[in-house]
């Protein structure tokens, strides 16, 4: 039952609009730093663009997708109209106002500090204030998800919470808690320095706070994609979910262990003790478990679909799958990219191998493959699946949808594989230009050029995505029927209470944050004299 279609569409349209703008910046950046383009005469333009691209793609776009999809899940899976519709609109406007507030100083070149902030560099305060508004807007969504689930539970005391909503609320709690790290960094350290209340900043503490957010945010981006794996894909391809309980366990594990592991981003930092780095490294290994479980469950669910469609033998079911269905294609591409990206992730999280690629182009290649590839392609799938229910018009051009998904997959592989490679060669990140004529850098020139081609394939795919949606706006009106989520092969008959609520898991998440971050943060805060002068950028000319 979708009653707030305009609210949900507003979130998706804003999300995809900012995505469309940011991907153009991304492609431009790929081009101008490559050997195919002369050195840019003012490198600041590159960093300005990079700040905008990262801020939009990292903070605005996935947050809006999670919010819009979350409202849709709440209404459809609980079958109850959204409670707090006005608050939801307020959250939307806060995100929009925050995004504009942040982007104005960035586009004026007043906050070219990159989306990771990098204190003690300090830019224009409105950039940070804008980011805070985006986060505050999304926190309204977190509260609404919680309130809606609680209301449903009161009305349905004995029923298991639908899997989609269970996962959605887990994702919202994860986001609420993980955003606290960056919020502390912004509110206690960066913004006071940016508005002139202080002129110093504790760079080491800021980096630790940011790591609190920076890793788990990836899982916040990921959760809508995983919800789609479990609750959209099997239904869309005519199958069933292999196991409802295992799906819940996967989301629970994300909630508990994706948070207390952020310090693997600071392996090479001198301000944290090696012991805590090891603890975070070991817990990072744990976060691979829910993904491994998901790979099994989804492959098995897809196999069920193949067999239900008459596929026989060990591999015959693969041929029997509905390959002309865009959702089938999307999940396949997503899994392939998740496989490569996940393998790369295991390298990043390990102490020993990290040193080879830490902060090189490998890292950028890695997170573009995981986020831009495996996750965003599922955002497309979510939009394709949900759109007819939101607009009341069918998306009929399946061929164009398939072409779009193929191009996104090919584009992502062509962009990110060479990107990983130049990282292994030791190419540093985030430079406006490189001297490819130097013998030591010359071997990277071809790979970087290939990446540029990939970037433009991605732009074409993004354009096709908009064409599909806009074509849909002109299609005749047609009732898409009620929106359904996948059924489990064995729907939960009895469910342990722990798999039906979030209280225990939120407690464990907070508990592990305290054990894994508590002492390092305490030690950093009490370390005296660690505030260093802020370095203001983009100010006096």
């Amino acid at each position: 039952m979708l009653t707030n279609k305009r609210l949900i569409l507003a979130h998706f349209w804003l999300a995809f609009s900012v995505f469309g703008l940011a991907i153009l910046l991304g492609a431009w950046q790929m081009l101008i730093r490559s050997p195919l383009h002369a050195w840019i005469s003012n490198p600041e333009w590159y960093y300005r663009s990079l700040t905008a691209h990262g801020t939009v793609m990292g903070y605005v776009f996935p947050t809006l997708v999670a919010m819009g999809f979350g409202y849709a899940i709440s209404e459809t899976s609980l079958n109850q109209p959204l409670i707090g519709r006005r608050w939801a609109w307020a959250g939307f406007w806060l995100v929009l106002i925050g995004a504009v507030t942040a982007m104005v100083p960035v586009s004026l070149g007043l906050a070219s500090v990159l989306y990771t902030f990098y204190p003690p560099m300090i830019g224009n305060p409105f950039y940070y204030i804008g980011v805070v508004l985006v986060v505050v807007g999304s926190w309204i969504w977190v509260a609404l998800m919680s309130i809606n689930l609680a209301a449903w539970k009161r009305a349905n005391p004995d029923k298991p919470v639908p899997l989609a909503m269970f996962a959605n609320v887990a994702g919202s709690y994860l986001w609420a808690w993980t955003a606290v790290g960056a919020a502390l960094e912004l509110l206690l350290q960066i913004i006071p320095a940016a508005i002139g209340l202080t002129s110093t900043i504790d760079a080491g503490l800021s980096r630790v706070f940011f790591s609190w957010t920076l890793h788990a945010i990836v899982y916040f981006w990921l959760i809508p994609a995983y919800i789609a794996y479990y609750t959209i894909v099997p239904r869309a391809i005519g199958g069933k979910v292999y196991s409802d309980a295992m799906a819940r366990i996967a989301f629970i594990l994300f909630l508990v262990v994706s948070m207390p592991i952020g310090m693997h981003h600071t392996f090479a930092d001198p301000q944290v003790g090696a012991g805590f780095k090891f603890i975070h490294s070991a817990f990072t290994a744990l976060v691979a478990i829910p993904t491994l479980l998901t790979v099994f469950t989804i492959c098995a669910s897809v196999e069920i679909a193949g067999r239900l469609r008459g596929g026989k033998g060990p591999f015959g079911w693969i041929a029997a799958l509905p390959w002309d269905n865009p959702i089938m294609l999307a999940v396949t591409f997503s899994f392939i990219m998740l496989g490569f990206g996940g393998a790369g992730g295991l390298i990043n999280m390990s102490y020993q191998l990290d040193a080879t690629i830490h902060n090189t182009q490998w890292i950028t290649g890695h997170f573009h493959l995981i986020f831009g590839g495996a996750i965003v392609i599922m955002y497309f799938a979510i939009a394709y699946d949900l759109w007819p229910h939101l607009t009341g018009r069918q998306l009929t051009n399946l061929r164009l949808m398939r072409t779009q998904l193929w191009l996104w997959f090919i584009g992502m592989i062509v962009t990110t594989f060479p990107w990983h490679w130049v990282g292994i060669l030791g190419m540093p990140r985030r430079m406006a230009y490189y001297d490819y004529t130097n013998a030591a850098l010359e071997p990277t020139a071809l790979s970087v050029s290939i990446s540029v081609v990939g970037a433009f394939i991605l732009v074409i795919s993004a354009i096709l995505f908009f064409v599909v949606l806009l074509e849909g706006q002109r299609a005749p009106r047609e009732n898409a029927g009620p929106y359904r989520f996948s059924m489990a092969v064995h729907p939960p008959v009895t469910l342990p209470a722990v798999l039906n609520g979030h209280a225990l898991w939120v407690t464990l998440m907070v508990g592990l944050t305290i054990t894994n971050y508590g002492f390092p943060v305490y030690e950093l805060v009490t370390r005296s004299g660690m505030s260093v002068p802020a370095i203001y950028v983009g100010g006096e000319r």
Binding site: W39, S41, N42, P43, E44, D158, K159, P160, S199, V256, Q271, V272, G273, A274, G275, F276, K277, F278, I279, A282, F283, M431, Y433, Y434, D435, N438, A440, L441, P491, P492, V493, T494, L495, P496, A497, V498, N500, G501, A503, L504, T507, L508, G511, L512, T515, N516, F519, P520, E523, R527, P533, A534, I535, Y536, V537, G538, G539, E540, R541
Partner: protein, 271 residues
């Protein structure tokens, strides 16, 4: 369909999960905080407790070593971002009076006619730092050293604030746009030469670095050569020597000519 159990925390599954998490954390923490620091060959710890503290990240000050002492006078200015970023009218007024003695070389309005640097509109922090360095001997110049020797700290702040308050030379709009040579706009990355503007104000400003637009070519050239040869070494931790040393004589000429051509001072002074 039903949901088993009432209170989550009395549920036996819940207790197991909490216990498992606790055991996991304790085991991992034991390996990370106790076992690894003890077994690693490269840890220089005085004992078990010391090793644990070190792995936990308890900070320590570096052990005292005797550094090699410099054979020249190092700049003793501590550059901070808020350095001289606000000036009061009184300070500017005092600075104007003090600046009379500067006019003979640096021009009555801060525009030099004698290949001395133009000071009008210069960053206060840059002027202050150079005055301090002339006074301490970190930078030496037959004319400037005796002048600086007489100034108090407040005098230097006042003079710097006064010149920073004066307007910069206007850009010359009568001539066609001068395209910056590549050494200025891009530098030479692998020779460790960043774009000049990333510190000197046209792109971003690093506190302590001067504004270069309109400075006399001869002055810029002489300073770059002095940095390159190590004859001038009051740049903190070699930040300017590292760059100048890597520039070719031709690039030094190009950069100097470019900056001097950027404002009307070229006409004002007949160059």
């Amino acid at each position: 369909m039903s949901v088993r159990g009432n209170s989550i925390f009395r549920d036996r599954w819940a207790i197991r999960c909490i216990a498992l998490t606790a055991v996991l954390f304790v085991a991992i923490a034991f390996i990370g905080l106790v076992l690894l620091p003890l077994l690693q060959p490269n840890v220089k710890a005085a004992g078990l407790w010391d090793a644990i503290c070190s792995a936990a990240g308890i900070a320590r000050k570096p052990t005292n070593t005797t550094p090699v002492a410099p054979d020249f006078k190092i700049s003793s200015v501590v550059v901070t971002p808020e350095m001289l970023d606000t000036a009061d009218a009184q300070s500017i007024g005092r600075g104007a009076t003090l600046a009379h003695q500067c006019a003979i070389c640096h021009g009555p309005a801060g525009f030099s006619r004698a290949d001395s640097p133009n000071l009008s509109g210069q960053y206060a922090s840059a002027i202050y730092k150079q005055l301090k360095d002339f006074q301490s001997g970190a930078r030496s110049n037959a004319i400037m050293t005796p002048f600086a020797a007489k100034l108090t700290d407040q005098d230097m702040i006042d003079v710097a604030s006064y010149y920073a308050y004066l307007p910069r030379l206007p850009e010359d709009r009568t001539r066609q746009v001068i395209v910056a040579p590549q050494i200025v706009s891009n530098g030479a990355p692998l020779r460790n030469i960043p774009p000049c503007g990333s510190c000197h104000g046209s792109i971003d400003h690093k506190v302590g670095s001067p504004w270069l637009q309109g400075q006399p070519a001869a002055y810029i050239k002489a300073q770059l050569q002095a940095f390159a040869r190590g004859q001038r070494n009051n740049d903190i931790s070699q930040q300017m020597r590292n760059i100048a040393r890597q520039m070719t004589p031709q690039e030094i000429d190009e950069a100097a000519r470019y900056y001097s051509s950027l404002s009307q001072s070229a006409q004002l002074t007949g160059r």
